[in-house]
């Protein structure tokens, strides 16, 4: 069975939900610990959301120096699929696996809502089960979610098709060009602020076509990577 590592840093909140999402998608979740420089031979890695190290210094800044991250950065360079969700996305930018950074939401408020996203790139390891241009709904919950980068970087991301998700129906946090998620040039590393792992099982997700809390759009992130790995 395909093994997907889920990293726990001090202050990570969503590692259990991420592990559960991996299981529901048909993979085997493997717990990875921030202090161990060991990826346990996993086939992919998820950096889940939360407030690692209390968001001290900057969100994701201290996690970047955790022993496990040295391994993640090296393996990502060799093509290992890596998904950073929310705080995990912030860790990926601090580790320079993805460009740009996140600052406080424009409103200064913590936001928690069901968010519609447009899928703009369905070729990455984590999005191949989506259609390009498809709208999906998954939860968004954060305080530092405003994606920023300089104009040259933004133009580069757009030009290379590396904007993976854009906020639909209004920009919730002031992110440049409505960007909700991006990928690296190779398409194996993806980071996004909203939370796919909270929309993987009927009865517990956002409202969907089948009724209240029926939305499971998040599950396809995980089935995508399983398919990418099997080939």
């Amino acid at each position: 069975m395909t093994r997907i590592g889920v990293v726990t840093f001090p202050g990570t909140l969503d590692d259990r939900d991420a592990a559960r999402a991996v299981r529901l998608a048909g993979g085997e979740p493997v717990a990875l610990w921030h202090a161990d420089a060991d990826l346990k031979d996993v086939d992919a890695v998820v950096l889940p959301g939360g407030f690692s190290y209390g968001d001290y210094l900057r969100a994701g800044a201290i996690s970047r120096f955790a022993p496990v991250m040295g391994e993640v950065v090296e393996a990502a360079g060799k093509g290992l699929p890596v998904l950073g969700i929310c705080n995990g996305f912030q860790v990926l930018t601090e580790a320079h696996l993805l460009p740009g950074s996140m600052i406080k939401n424009e409103s200064l408020h913590f936001l928690c809502r069901e968010q519609v996203l447009t899928v703009e790139n369905s070729d990455t390891a984590w999005t191949r089960e989506f259609e390009r241009g498809e709208d999906i709904t998954i939860p968004l919950k954060n305080q530092d979610g405003q994606y920023v980068a300089d104009e040259r970087t933004l133009d580069e991301l757009e030009g290379e098709g590396r904007v993976v998700f854009r906020y639909q129906g209004g920009n919730p946090n002031g992110s440049r060009r409505d960007i909700a998620g991006i990928t690296n040039a190779a398409g194996n590393v993806v980071g996004l602020m909203p939370h796919p792992e909270h929309a993987v099982e009927p009865g517990f997700g956002p409202d969907g076509a089948q009724g209240p809390r029926s939305g499971t759009d998040g599950l396809r992130f995980f089935t995508s990577v399983l398919r990418a790995l099997v080939g």
Partner: protein, 95 residues
């Protein structure tokens, strides 16, 4: 024991939501003369012994690599806190 102070500010072109909120609160308290506020961070790094040029150099490297994120922030000062205070006192003619 020496101490190095490092000041980090959000880049001028990056919107500073915290500074904006503070700027909004000041007039309500009667401080109407301040037209803009930007909020940054100050770090104080302690070392055993005096602040040598090598210490300052290491502090500058730490400021660039860890204490700030160059995408959103600028390091605006890396200085020996004692020398800085002495210089300020001297410039005011009090020393």
């Amino acid at each position: 024991m020496g101490r190095v102070v490092v000041d980090v500010m959000p880049k001028p072109e990056i919107l500073d939501p915290q500074g904006k909120a503070v700027a909004g609160a000041l007039p309500r308290l009667g401080f109407g003369q301040f037209t803009s506020v930007r909020q940054g961070k100050r770090f104080e790094l302690e070392v055993d012994g005096p602040v040598t040029p090598e210490v300052l150099e290491a502090a500058a490297a730490a400021a660039e690599q860890v204490l700030s994120n160059p995408v959103i922030e600028d390091v605006v000062r890396v200085a020996d806190i004692e020398a800085d205070a002495a210089a300020t006192v001297a410039s005011q003619g009090l020393a």
